[in-house]
Structures are given as C-alpha cells and as structure tokens.
C-alpha cells in the first residue's frame, strides 16, 4: 500500500492507530488532505469511518501515530484547539436554541472578545450563505431535515475552521434532498475554500463529490486517489465490491486464464492483490454478441433506474451477476425468466487480481 503523506498539507495523519480492546479500529492510517481539497471517505459499515473522523477531531485518543493540522502536531490537543469543524451524522443541534443561537454558539464562545453586533453580522452572513434567511428565530424542531443539515453546517463553518469533517452528512436525508444538498455542499465549500473530509457510505456520493477518494476497509486504507482512477482501477477486490459497479468472481489464475466456478476467463489486465479475484463492470457485460470473455447464467429479473436498466442473472452455483444497460444505447433487450444466456465482455474490460 502506498503512503499518502505530502508536505504542506492542511491535515496530515501518520500511522494513526486506534484500538478498542485488542481490535484495531484504525490500523496505521496515513494520508494527507491538501488545502482547498474535497476528499470523500468511503467504506462499508463498521470499517472505522466514524472512529477515524473522531480521532482527527480529538474526540478519541489514538494509541499510536500523529495528527497534524497545517504542520502543527495536535495529537494531544483537545478538540476546540484543533481548528477543526465537525458535522455530526445526526446533526447534534442544540435542541433548546433557535436557529440563530445554534449558529452563533461558536462565535460567542471565542476567547477573542467579539461584540454582539459582530456576532450577529457573521451569523446572518453564514445563514445567508447556506440559504436559511428568514428562519433565524425558528426553533430547531420547527425546521425540515434539509434545513437542520444546513444549520449544522453553518454552525460549524461560522467559526472558520481550517478543516471540516462531515460524518455521513446526507445520510439522514431522503434521496431527492440528498442530490440537492450535494450540489449545495460543493457550492458552499467552493465559496469558502476550506478543505472538506466527507465520510459517506454511498459510493455514488463518494465518486460524485470528492476531488479525491479514500476507500477504507477494516480500519485500513485500501485505496486513495481521484474518483475516476478508483472507479476504473480498483486496487483490490474489496474496493471493487464497495464501488457497487463490479461483478467480482472468486477463483485463481491458471496459466493464461482466470479459472472460476463458471469456467475460465482469458486474462488481460492483471493487478497484484493479496486475494485473487476477477472483476468486471456491470455496464461492460452484453448478451448480444460474444465479446471474448464470458459465462452462462439464467435471467432472473430487471430493475429500472431511469437512465439505465439493471438485469440480474444467476449462475448455476447461485452467484448473482449484474448487467447494466444504459438506455442511451437503445432500448433494453427482452429476456425470458429462467432461460440461460451467455454474458460476455471484452477481455481487456476485466481486471484480474492475482
């Protein structure tokens, strides 16, 4: 695995390790986030995303390793001296305060004495930036989920943190709102130029939002790179699985072929990995003409996704294989339930982890 440590970065982690009992929730995490960068952090549930953010913010003390903010070692500093903003998954708004007072809270804490009119001006500016004008006097129980999200964001941003950590900030919102908030988040961040580290369990969110993408697996970094690179070149079979766009088959390399339960597949692209597997993207499969590599599976069902349609097939030994048909490529094929089809792809579209 590569170390992702660069000089002159806003956040830098070196060998960060956090254990609960004898289990390592974080295992020697090293990476850095540059100024103005939007980094998304993707990982399955329980992979340590929240623990990582909490360790960076100072709510958990790591056993080993260092956290540096703008070159300064803050590993032993309390959260409020780190200059990090934290947006909680459940928003964690102060339930007894109004929208205005929630946002102004951080300004009124400051050791630097600022006047109430200055606090007021900055709070209103921030509410304006996140699009909450007119709601200042509302209680936080009297606003919608999306508005709560904005209050949580404004409350964190108003104290001008050097880095903002967001723990599944859109997880509590419905799909429609999530799409709108994605755009909003990016717009707000671009206005402020503060680096964001955004944890998400959704691969599409991670791919869409990050300038760079970290894939976390069981407390360790599996891959760190631009979304396109991660998407096209997953570093190992687990990354391919999390991305939720690859069919991943078990098997082993024998000579020039990757041998699976479903037959041998010709090898083209090889990636070194600790566990052997073969991955091919959903949208590279076809049933129309034999493209060189392939297997046979029975059709089960389809799912309409708007711009694409997902077809599900099942191999004789019960492995579900997905085929994604983009509707811009013409109308979908009609399949007959239970009938066996030959699913094929060009050998160079498959990745063999060996």
């Amino acid at each position: 695995m590569r170390a992702h440590v660069a000089e002159g970065s806003v956040l830098r982690l070196e060998q960060l390790t956090k254990r609960f009992g004898d289990r390592a929730a974080l295992d020697k995490i090293s990476f850095s986030v540059n100024s103005g960068e939007y980094v998304s952090l993707l990982g399955p549930s329980g992979s340590g995303k929240t623990v990582l953010l909490r360790a960076i913010a100072g709510f958990e003390a790591p056993e080993e390793g260092r956290v540096s903010i703008v070159g300064e070692d803050v590993t032993r500093k309390p959260p409020h001296l780190r200059g990090i903003g934290f947006v909680f998954q459940n928003f964690a708004l102060f339930p007894h305060l109004s929208v205005f007072d929630n946002v102004a809270f951080g300004l009124r804490n400051g050791g630097d004495k600022r006047t109430e009119s200055d606090t007021r001006r900055r709070t209103l500016e921030m509410l304006d930036l996140v699009g909450l004008n007119g709601l200042e006097t509302r209680g936080v129980h009297q606003i919608s989920g999306g508005q709560k999200q904005r209050v949580a964001l404004a409350r964190t941003l108003v104290i001008k943190p050097k880095l903002v950590l967001l723990d599944e900030p859109l997880g509590a919102l419905d799909a429609n709102l999530r799409m709108r908030m994605r755009v909003e988040l990016r717009r707000i961040r671009e206005r402020l130029g503060i680096p964001f580290l955004h944890v998400t369990g959704s691969e599409s969110e991670a791919l869409a939002m990050g300038d760079r993408l970290i894939v976390l697996d069981r407390g360790a970094i599996s891959q760190f790179g631009p979304p396109g690179e991660v998407y096209e070149h997953p570093a190992n079979p687990n990354v391919a699985k999390f991305l939720n766009c690859y069919n991943v088959f078990d098997g082993s390399v024998q000579g020039d072929a990757f041998v699976t339960n479903h037959g041998p597949i010709p090898l083209a692209r090889r990636v070194a990995s600790s566990t052997p597997a073969y991955a091919v993207r959903y949208d590279r499969l076809t049933t129309r003409a034999d493209a060189g590599a392939g297997l046979s599976a029975a059709y089960i069902a389809s799912e309409y996704l708007g711009s694409a349609i997902m077809h599900f097939f099942e191999t004789p030994d019960g492995k579900v294989v997905e085929l994604e048909h983009h509707l811009s490529n013409g109308p979908p094929d009609a399949y007959e339930a239970g009938r066996t089809y030959r699913l094929s792809w060009r050998p160079e579209d498959g990745i063999a982890f060996v």
Binding site: A57, H80, F86, N90, F94, P95, F105, N109
Partner: protein, 299 residues
C-alpha cells in the same frame, strides 16, 4: 404526549362521532370516579369544615370565620407559616445544591449504564429502612456528644461542642435534605441521561469550555428534571411534620406540626384552616414551577 392525547388520537380512527366520545369517556371514567371520591370530595370537605364553629369539645356545621380569624391573628401560627416557607426554601436550595452535582455525576460522567443504574439504586437504599429510623439516626450524629462534634474536637478544629447542630433549623434542614435529595437526583439524572453525547461534543468542538457547556447546554436541557424534582421535594417538605418533630425538639413548628397538634386535640376546624392554607401554598408553588418549563413538550 399525554395520556388523554393518546386516547383522543386512538379514538380518531373510529368513524362515528357518538361512539368515539362514549368510548373515550369510558376510558377516563374510573380515574374520574377515583379522583372525585378521594381527592375532590375530601378537599371540598376540608374547605367546608374550616368554616364550621368549633367549641372546646365539639364542632357544629354552623358557618363562621372564627377559625380563620384565630389563625391570622395568632403570632404563633403566622410565624409557623413563615418557618414553613423558610425551611421549604432552604431545603429546596440544599437538595438542588447537593442533588444537581450528584445527578451530573451519575447521569453524565458515568458512561456505563449498569453502573449508572447501580448508583441510582444506591441513592434509594436508605428508603429500605423506616422513615423514623432515618430521621432519628441523625440524633447521635448531630447531638452535643454526637459523632460530628466528637470528630471536630478530636481533630482540634473546635474546643467546645457545637450545640447548634441539633434541635435547630439546621438539624431539620440537614435531616430533610438527606431524606428528599434523592427525589431531586432522580428526575435530573433522567433528563441528563437523555442528552445526546454528540451535542456535548459539538459544543466542545465549537470551543465551549466545561462551565459554558454546563450553563448553556446541560443546565437548560436538564431544567425539566429540576422542575419535576423541585415539585416532588416541595410537596413533601411543605407537608412535613415528622422530621421537624424528631430533630428540632419541638422548637421548629411547621404548618404540618400544627395540623397534627390540632387534630390531636380534636380542633378540626383550625386544622382544616391550616390544611387549606397548606394546600393553597402547594398549588401556587406547583403552578409557579410549571411555568418555568413546558413539561408536556419536554417529556
């Protein structure tokens, strides 16, 4: 949500209006009957009796203001009214000062739920002995030759035993605080336990120190618990007579003690007057406390 709201909402599902209200009223009927028989009727009776004519040996249902005049023209009674208010306010303040930090410790700093429950149960253990024993146990503690005086003298802090410890306001306040503090701790610890830890972390992240978090976040969020605790303590202390009888050597006379004495000498009318006054004070206190927070919204 209150019980009546639940009833009304559940009843909303049944379409015909008449059955709906009949059903709802049937549900509330036992409670209404119970409250009428054992609360409203006795209260009305006490108010009524307070206007009866009292002679030395008997009482007649002839309406008069005599007993009320007796109460308000006697400096003994008036001063016991003030003593009651003074002891009540002091005990209320003491239970808060002792109880809030305790609740803070149990509800917020003890993260382990089992330990939390254990600690709360520990607070209740004194209630496994009788009230009288708990009160009387203070005598060997506070007396002139009691444990506290002996300790202080051994430690050389005082030369003479402090006599003011027992049979004074102080001993009554100490005794009552010990007995009733748990009613303050319970509701506050309950409210504190419900605070989302992320909220406190958010406050810390935004730069608030411990005292500011306590003042701006924790205390306001626990206020309903304080109010409920204050109501419990107030109602119990205002109606008290046993602690003051046992620990004040009859020097501290609360309204409760007067009722006991008057009933003892069959002066029902005057006892009723004091009872009405006491009930009125409790009503005002509870109404006042409930104005501080909207309990219906908070719980």
């Amino acid at each position: 949500m209150t019980a009546t709201e639940i009833i009304v909402e559940a009843a909303d599902a049944t379409p015909p209006r008449s059955t709906r209200s009949v059903g709802a009223y049937l549900l509330i009927a036992p409670a209404i009957v119970w409250m009428t028989l054992f609360l409203v009727v006795p209260m009305a009776m006490i108010v009524y009796v307070s206007f009866w004519t009292q002679t030395t040996f008997k009482i007649e249902p002839k309406l008069t203001l005599d007993s009320w005049q007796t109460f308000f023209s006697s400096s003994t009674y008036i001063s016991s009214l003030w003593t009651t208010v003074r002891i009540w306010l002091t005990v209320l303040a003491m239970t808060f000062l002792v109880g809030y930090p305790t609740a803070l410790f149990v509800g917020l700093f003890v993260k382990n739920k089992t330990l939390q429950t254990t600690l709360l149960v520990l607070c209740v253990i004194p209630f496994w002995t009788s009230f009288l024993i708990r009160v009387l146990a203070w005598r060997p503690m506070l007396g002139k030759e009691g444990a506290i005086n002996i300790l202080l003298m051994k430690a050389g802090i005082i030369q003479q035993p402090i006599e003011a410890l027992l049979f004074t306001d102080l001993s009554v306040v100490i005794g009552m605080t010990q007995i009733y503090v748990v009613f303050m701790v319970g509701p506050i610890a309950f409210m504190l336990g419900r605070i989302d830890p992320n909220i406190l972390e958010a406050a810390r992240d935004l730069g608030a120190g411990f005292w500011r978090i306590l003042r701006k976040i924790i205390f306001p969020l626990s206020l309903p618990g304080v109010v409920v605790g204050a109501i419990f303590v107030s109602v119990m202390v205002l109606g008290e007579f046993a602690t003051s009888a046992a620990l004040s050597g009859r020097k501290v006379n609360l309204l409760g003690n007067i009722i006991v004495t008057q009933v003892g000498s069959l002066k029902w009318a005057l006892a009723s007057v004091v009872g009405v006054i006491l009930t009125f004070i409790m009503g005002v206190v509870i109404a006042g406390l409930l104005r501080i927070v909207d309990l219906k919204k908070e719980l």
